[in-house]
């Protein structure tokens, strides 16, 4: 911190700092109104009976219900499954995009981004058309004789996962692609000149240097998918029930604001836990930065 001796200059510096801080006020106001306030309200709701008296009954009811725990397991399965598939599909795709010529890369990127410009509802119903028993994919499979019976591709876990991966892949791809694009092409050349095969270069140079992007992408995927509602609701056919659809059912069927609030808080805690875990893991990786490059 520099010490400014001149009182007028010091006052100027203070005024400038205050001005820049004040620029964040509108955003702070909206976050307070749209995020903090509702959370406080939900926490209050979770301790109220339908009659408006304070109780811990909502927590007892929700936490002792097997449905809650199976919803929690389903939520984690969907999130981790989506994340795993995004990493497996997205990382090679990002690598291909980053090593393509700029013109080709831009074209491919446009294809990747196209789904983002379409409403999620439209896309989800689009998958329904493709995946149904009499949908395009099953028609092609049975028509060509590859399978005798149509495959159960939708109204189940598989269908939900397909829809979620489709939604998340571009969002995962962006930070990974950006990280890989930033890698100096000479690093790849240097590695090859010293005798590395392409696979060795990817393993020892490209992946370690894009770990930050893969990490950011993973956090985005996890935070998004943990609260996913439309895709499981439409493509799950009532058989896939993560916490989000349980909350909706608790509200629409039972008008039980107390229990729904408890489930909401559960979701919030889950996100916070995952967030903390990711941050801790990132710090761990950053701390190991000075390591050896043993292939």
């Amino acid at each position: 911190m520099t010490v400014i001796a001149d009182p007028f200059l010091a006052a100027d510096a203070r005024r400038e700092r205050r001005f820049f801080l004040s620029l964040s006020l509108p955003a702070l106001f909206i976050v307070g109104l749209a995020a903090i306030l509702p959370i406080v309200w939900i926490i209050r709701q979770s301790f109220l009976t339908t009659g408006g008296e304070y109780t811990v009954g909502n927590y007892e009811k929700v936490l002792s219900s097997g449905l809650t725990w199976s919803a929690l397991v389903t939520t984690l399965q969907l999130s981790l499954g989506t994340l795993a598939i995004c990493i497996l599909l997205g990382t090679p795709l990002a690598l291909a995009l980053a090593s393509a010529r700029p013109r080709v890369a831009n074209l491919l990127m446009a294809f990747v981004m196209l789904p983002l410009w379409t409403s999620i509802l439209v896309r989800t119903y689009g998958w329904l058309v493709l995946l149904r028993r009499d949908g395009l994919i099953n028609a092609a499979l049975t028509g060509s004789g590859l399978t005798a019976e149509p495959l159960p591709l939708v109204y189940n876990f598989t269908g939900t996962l397909i829809g979620m991966v489709h939604y998340m892949l571009p969002l995962f791809l962006l930070p990974v692609y950006a990280a890989m694009r930033d890698i100096d092409a000479n690093l790849v050349r240097a590695s090859a000149s010293m005798g590395a095969t392409l696979g060795q270069t990817i393993r020892t140079v490209i992946l370690p240097l894009s770990a930050g992007g893969i990490f950011s992408g993973s956090i985005i995927v996890f935070i998004y998918t943990i609260g996913f509602f439309i895709t499981p609701a439409v493509l799950g056919g009532g058989k896939v029930n993560p916490l989000s659809t349980r909350i909706e059912r608790t509200l629409s069927t039972f008008q039980d604001w107390g229990s729904a609030s408890v489930l909401g808080i559960l979701l919030l805690i889950l996100m916070a836990l995952v967030g903390v875990m990711f941050l801790a893991a990132r710090r761990l990786i950053a701390g190991r930065k000075v390591g050896t490059g043993h292939a």
Binding site: R189, M194, G195, A196, V205, K289, V290, G293, A295
Partner: protein
């Protein structure tokens, strides 16, 4: 001493669309030689280096190492050490891990790899920095790590792409001598790319001057400097005056040449006695003068209108401070420093 190999470049051509980066370049590099590719940016020198490294595929022509054709060999099979312009050190690895990297790829036993990396780091005077992070190194230290990494696996050929261009002047001069000494110790065939003519002269056994995808002249530093074969080489290698035939007269009165002449700025004297009877004289008006520390640079307008540069060493230039622009002046050059350039026009 490692076994070094000769390199043959045989009519290598590379075009990008209508742009000709390499125009049928042929070049023989002897085993153990330090050869510099010198030229302005866009002259094709880096393209030629990258073709040797395997990162640029020539449209036609042949590259061979010893008598083995490497034109289509993958870069990782060529066994060539490369020092890149921006060093290309792996930022996620320590200094030691960077230098061990090529050895680890070759499945060298761990202890041996470590020892060889440490020995090589000592050789480039980086002892004690092995565990450092790359980000914690200065430019000069990074340069040394890049050197160590390129020689640790005892490659048969070393390529260097303007390795000193990012360093400040003093460090650059130190590194020029160190790289040359390293080359002499290892005896490894080295191709060095630079746009700095002084660097090329100081470091090389031979210099190949390139322009627009062609090699203009390949020769020893002395011959390149004193006997340039084209106008481009003459002007690129220093302050050269190309003077049209007829403008230069011999001191004894005869017309000097029917061809264009090249006289370097520093070949001139202001005193006829220093030149000898067969020298040349050029008379003109002083247009500008500048003191450059070790010498004075005078701009002289000849009577035909052409301007020439005259460089007088400060030790001999006692009268230069008193010269006034507009004054008539005669510059003399000894015959040995007057070089005809066939076909060149002033």
């Amino acid at each position: 001493m490692m076994k070094s190999l000769p390199i043959t470049i045989d009519s290598v051509r590379k075009t990008y669309g209508s742009y000709v980066a390499l125009d049928d370049v042929s070049l023989d590099i002897r085993a153990g030689e330090f050869l510099t590719l010198l030229g302005p940016s866009g002259s094709g020198k880096t393209t030629l280096l990258m073709a040797l490294a395997g990162f640029v595929r020539p449209d036609s022509g042949r590259l061979s190492l010893d008598d083995r054709d490497i034109t289509r060999l993958a870069p990782n099979k060529r066994d060539i050490g490369i020092v890149f312009q921006n060093y290309a050190l792996f930022p996620h690895m320590s200094v030691l891990a960077n230098v061990e990297y090529p050895l680890v790829l070759r499945k060298t036993p761990k202890a041996e790899a470590r020892q060889r990396a440490l020995d090589t780091l000592a050789r480039v005077k980086l002892d004690g920095l092995a565990e450092r992070n790359i980000a914690a190194l200065s430019g000069g230290q990074r340069q040394r790590v890049a050197l160590a990494r390129a020689i640790v696996f005892e490659p048969r050929v070393m390529l260097m792409d303007e390795p000193l261009s990012a360093l400040d002047k003093n460090l650059r001069e130190t590194m020029q001598y160190e790289i040359r000494r390293l080359h002499d110790d290892l005896g490894i065939t080295t191709i060095y790319v630079t746009h700095d003519q002084r660097e090329a002269l100081i470091m090389s056994d031979r210099v190949a001057v390139m322009n627009s995808g062609r090699i203009q002249q390949i020769d020893t530093p002395q011959r390149i400097y004193n006997h340039p074969s084209t106008r481009f080489v003459a002007e690129f290698m220093g302050e050269a005056n190309i003077i049209a035939p007829g403008l230069v007269r011999r001191i004894d009165g005869a017309d000097a040449s029917s061809e264009a002449l090249m006289i370097r700025a520093e070949s001139f004297h202001l005193d006829a006695k220093l030149v000898g009877r067969d020298g040349v004289a050029l008379e003109g008006t002083l247009r500008a003068k500048a003191f450059r520390g070790e010498n004075w640079l005078l701009t002289l307008a000849l009577d035909g209108g052409q301007e020439i540069l005259v460089c007088i060493p400060a030790a001999l230039a006692t009268g230069c401070a008193e010269l006034a622009t507009g004054q008539r002046l005669t510059a003399y050059a000894p015959a040995a420093k007057v070089h005809a350039i066939p076909g060149a026009r002033a």
